[in-house]
Symmetry: C2
């Protein structure tokens, strides 16, 4: 049995670091009345270059941190955890619903593709897990998935090299093969990648539909809360409650820039 | 009181990940009879973007892991820990000697500079700590230090983008200011950077003397062991004992490529 869940309970969201803020932004746009509790594991970021065993341990830790705040659901904003450890989150959260960015992005891609050829880019761990391809295949066995790991995109995004010639060179190298494969849809399988959306669009061409998993997960969250009669009817004036495992001030600055708000309070928690 | 130290005790070396292998290589070249125990904290790499509090906690954990093997000394192969937490290592190791790459590199730079203008490149945490400048200034107050953080060099080196046009572009951007400053010596203040030495040399010009802290630390280790009568007189035929906190197979492959040996055994330890 899970803790008492009410319409006013918060939505818990976690990510390995700052990338999940794209999900916070999409949730606030789609569901402005919802309370949000966010945890970014900035002491152990990045996850995408680490092993499944380590990622599964971190996924359990992060879920336990969010559970202290008795959320009504959990969103896994980290593609790597969605790919390799969603079951760990489900086992650690006493039966409240869990949505991962991966499945949400896969579902939207399958809905919008016309030629059933879908590209997926992500971290080494996400791509090697083959979880996107498997998830898309389960939704529509006639779909072809072309995958490509882009390991340098996360550090380039974190350094703010958004429109830098080096980012373009690296982007062209990573995406050259995918461009040849006649895809009509490309899933950004890492929450950092929307930050580099400009370079990615320029490289693959404007005729390819880009799927941002953050937007997909916000749509799915709205549906799920409506179905379970768990949408918050009370207008919420609280800013998201922000927790990180390291460098709260740096996170606060990035949050302010990214969300266009006042500098928020960010709480440090130990992992 | 420390554990029983003998001439045949191993040298303990730790780093945040694979970068410290440049130190292992230099120690094996300078001191082929010494036994080595190496720990790479691959579950929590990188350190250079994290806070002092977190780095100090990790430094204590890593020292405790090496202490189980009763080393005769500890080498901190991680510049970030050398800059921000060397005292933590010293407090956790019961009085055995500790050498950090930072001080070794600073000493060698002060010895070789002719015009007393020294450049230092490193991670954000190392450069922001100002530890190189402080250390160099203590050795010679007439020296000018010009510092530059190069945060993308670690991921570029880890991805093997050693001679890539993007690495050259990023290198030129990072090193443009340093080139104008009339330095005659440049300290590679991060153990990953020797991997990108080609690009760095090409960018700053061949008239600048590059200081590789790994070589500096090997020289200093040899001196210290000789002074304390702790050099191993017995010829050692053991390969280094390798420990990591994640992805032992990946580490094994990188070790093989980097050291030009057989594929070694690598042990997984929990942090």
């Amino acid at each position: 049995m899970h803790h008492k869940v009410t319409q006013e309970s918060p939505i818990g969201i976690f990510d390995s670091g700052i990338g999940g803020l794209t999900v916070v932004k999409a949730i606030r746009a789609a569901l402005p009345s919802e309370r949000i509790i966010y945890f970014g594991d900035t002491a152990r970021v990045p996850y995408g270059t680490k092993s499944q065993i380590t990622i599964r341990k971190y996924a359990a830790d992060n879920t336990n941190i969010l559970m202290r705040y008795q959320p009504k659901m959990i969103i896994v904003a980290c593609n790597t955890v969605s790919a390799l450890a969603l079951d760990v989150v489900e086992k650690s959260c006493n039966g409240i619903p869990v949505i991962g960015v991966l499945k949400a992005g896969a579902e939207l891609a399958v809905q919008v593709t016309k030629n059933n050829r879908i590209g997926v880019i992500g971290t080494q761990a996400t791509i090697c897990s083959n979880a996107y391809a498997r998830s898309i295949y389960l939704l529509n066995p006639n779909t072809q998935v072309i995958s490509q790991a882009c390991p340098l995109f996360v550090p380039l995004a974190e350094e703010g090299f958004i429109d830098h010639p080096a980012t373009k060179l690296i982007g062209h190298q990573y995406l050259a093969e995918i461009r040849k494969q006649n895809i009509d849809t490309l899933v950004l399988g890492c929450t950092h990648y929307p930050i580099l959306r400009g370079v990615i669009e320029e490289t693959v061409g404007s005729d390819i539909r880009i799927i941002d998993s953050a937007e997909a997960v916000a749509l799915k969250t709205k549906e799920l809360l409506a179905e379970s009669d768990l949408l918050n009817p009370v207008e919420n004036t609280f800013a998201p409650h922000l927790l990180v495992s390291d460098l709260p001030q740096k996170f606060s600055t990035i949050y302010q820039l990214f969300m266009g708000t006042e500098l928020p309070d960010v709480e440090l928690v130990e992992v």
